[in-house]
Amino acid sequence: MDIAVSPDIVFIILTTVTILAAIMALQAKELIYGAISLAISFIGIAGFFVFLDAPYLAMLQIAVYVGAVVVLILFTIMLVRREVVGETEEREEGGEGSMGLWIAGLLAVSIAGVAALAGPDLPAAPPTAFLPISQLGPVLATAYPVPLVILALLMSAALLGALVLAKLEK
C-alpha cells in the first residue's frame, strides 16, 4: 500500500492549522472564538489555493469569505446574544454525539482511504500549471456566460431575500 505523504513542511503546517481551526470553530466555547477560528481556517484554505497555483482564487477566498462572510457571522453573533449565551454553549454529549462522530469519521476515513490507496494512480503534477489570471476572465465570459448571468441573478435574489427577511417583523 503506497500512501503518498508530503514531506513539505509548510504543507503540513497549513494542514494542521486549517484542520485544527475547523475543529475549534465547532467546539469553541464562545461563538465568537468559533467565528475567529473559522476565519483562520478560511485563511488556511486560501493558503492551499496558493499552493495549487490559483492565487486569484486565494485572494478571492480571503476577500469574500474572511472579508465578508465572517463579518456577517460576527454581526449576527452579536445580534443574537443576550440571554441566549448560556444555553447555546452546552456541548452535545451522549448518544447523538458519538453517533455523529462515527458517521463523520467513517465518511472521512473512507474518502481519505480511497485517496490514499489510489495515490500512485493519480496524475502527477504537471511541471508548470500556473493558470494566468488573464485566461480566467475570457473563459468566464465566453465559455461560461450562462453561469455568470445566473450568478448575478442569484446574487440579486439573495440580497433582496436577506433584506426582506431581516426587515420583516419590524
Binding site: 478571492l60 476577500a63 465572517v70 452579536m78 489570471i133
Partner: protein, 307 residues
C-alpha cells in the same frame, strides 16, 4: 520591514508638521519634529489598562494582527521599476483582500472591549468601511480595464504616456473619497470623535495597545496613499533627475497630505448620509466610470496614449 518602519516614522514627522499648519499646535522639539517620538515614548510608558471583563488575549492580538495586515500589502506595491518585493500577478486583488480584513478585525476588537460605547463605535465603523469598499473596488476596476492587468507593476508601466488620473478622473474622485471613508478620516470621522462615543472603537485601548493601533492606522493611510499613486498618478514615472523611488514617495506624500488636510477643514457627515452616499451616489459614479472607460477603450480614443 525596516523600510516600513522608517516610512511610518518619516510620515509621522510629516504629519506632525502638517498638523502644525492646520490646527492644534503640538509642543515638542525643534519645530515639532520630535513630537512623534515623544508620543511613542509616552505611550509606551502609559499604563495599559484593560477594562473589567474585557477579553485580554483578543485585546492584545488584534492590534498586532491589524498592524500585520496593514503592513503586508506593502510587499506588492512597487516603489520603482524593480523595487518591488513580491511581484504578484494578482497584486491588486491581494491589496483589496487585505483591506477587506480590516472591518472584521475592528469589529472583534470593538466587541472585545466589552462595553457599549466602543462597541457602537465599532459597529458604525464597520458599516462605514464595508460600505465604501465597493466603490473602491469598482473604481479600481476601471483602472484595471485601462491597464489590462491586475499586476501593480504592469499598471504603473501602462501609465508611461499618461497618468490614469486623466482618463479616469471620475474614478479617481470616487476612489479618493472611498479611501477617506475607509480610513475614518474627516469628514467621515464618526467612529472617532463623536461626543457620545469618546474615541470610538478604540476608546478602551491605552498605552502600548493604542500605540500599536495608531501604527496600524497610519500604515493604512500610507498604504492607501501609495495605492492612489500607483493606480492613478503614475507610480514612479517622472523626469529622470530623481531616482524612481523618490518620485514615488514624493507623490505618495502629496496624496497623504491631501487626505490629511480635510481633517481640519470640513465638518462631519451624519452616519446615515454617510452610508447613503457610499451605497448610492458613489457606487453609481464608479459604475458610470467603468462604462465610460469601456466606451473610451473601444472607440480607440485612448490609443493616442498607447492604451
Amino acid at each position: 520591514m525596516l523600510v516600513v518602519m522608517f516610512l511610518t516614522w518619516y510620515e509621522r514627522k510629516i504629519l506632525a508638521r502638517i498638523q502644525l499648519r492646520i490646527g492644534p499646535l503640538y509642543a515638542g522639539g525643534p519645530g515639532g519634529i520630535l513630537q512623534p517620538i515623544a508620543d511613542g515614548v509616552k505611550l509606551i510608558f502609559k499604563e495599559v489598562m484593560i477594562p473589567y471583563k474585557a477579553n485580554k488575549p483578543l485585546f492584545i492580538w488584534i492590534p498586532l494582527a491589524l498592524v500585520f495586515f496593514a503592513a503586508l500589502p506593502f510587499a506588492v506595491i512597487p516603489f520603482g521599476q524593480h523595487w518591488v518585493i513580491a511581484n504578484l500577478d494578482v497584486g491588486l486583488v491581494f491589496v483589496f483582500a487585505m483591506t477587506s480584513l480590516f472591518p472584521s478585525m475592528i469589529l472583534i476588537f470593538a466587541w472585545a472591549s466589552n462595553s457599549k460605547y466602543p462597541f457602537l463605535g465599532g459597529l458604525r465603523s464597520l458599516f462605514q468601511q464595508v460600505a465604501y469598499e465597493i466603490p473602491m473596488w469598482i473604481s479600481a476596476l476601471s483602472i484595471v480595464l485601462l491597464a489590462g492587468s491586475l499586476n501593480l507593476v504592469d499598471i504603473v508601466n501602462a501609465q508611461q504616456k499618461i497618468w490614469f488620473i486623466v482618463p479616469a478622473i471620475l474614478s479617481f474622485i470616487v476612489f479618493f473619497v472611498s479611501i477617506m471613508a475607509e480610513l475614518e478620516r474627516l469628514p467621515f470621522d464618526l467612529p472617532e470623535a463623536e461626543p457620545e462615543l469618546v474615541a470610538g472603537w478604540y476608546t478602551e485601548s491605552s498605552g502600548a495597545i493604542f500605540m500599536v493601533l495608531f501604527l496600524a492606522l497610519y500604515m493604512k493611510l500610507y498604504l492607501m496613499s501609495s495605492l492612489v499613486t500607483v493606480l492613478f498618478l503614475g507610480g514612479w514615472w517622472g523626469p529622470a533627475f530623481l531616482p524612481q523611488p523618490v518620485w514615488f514617495i514624493l507623490k505618495t506624500l502629496i496624496v497623504a497630505t491631501f487626505i490629511i488636510i480635510p481633517r481640519g477643514v470640513y465638518p462631519r457627515i451624519r452616519v446615515d448620509m454617510l452610508i447613503r452616499i457610499g451605497w448610492t451616489r458613489l457606487l453609481i459614479i464608479a459604475l458610470a466610470n467603468v462604462f465610460l472607460t469601456v466606451l473610451l477603450l473601444n472607440t480607440g480614443v485612448l490609443s493616442l496614449w498607447g492604451l
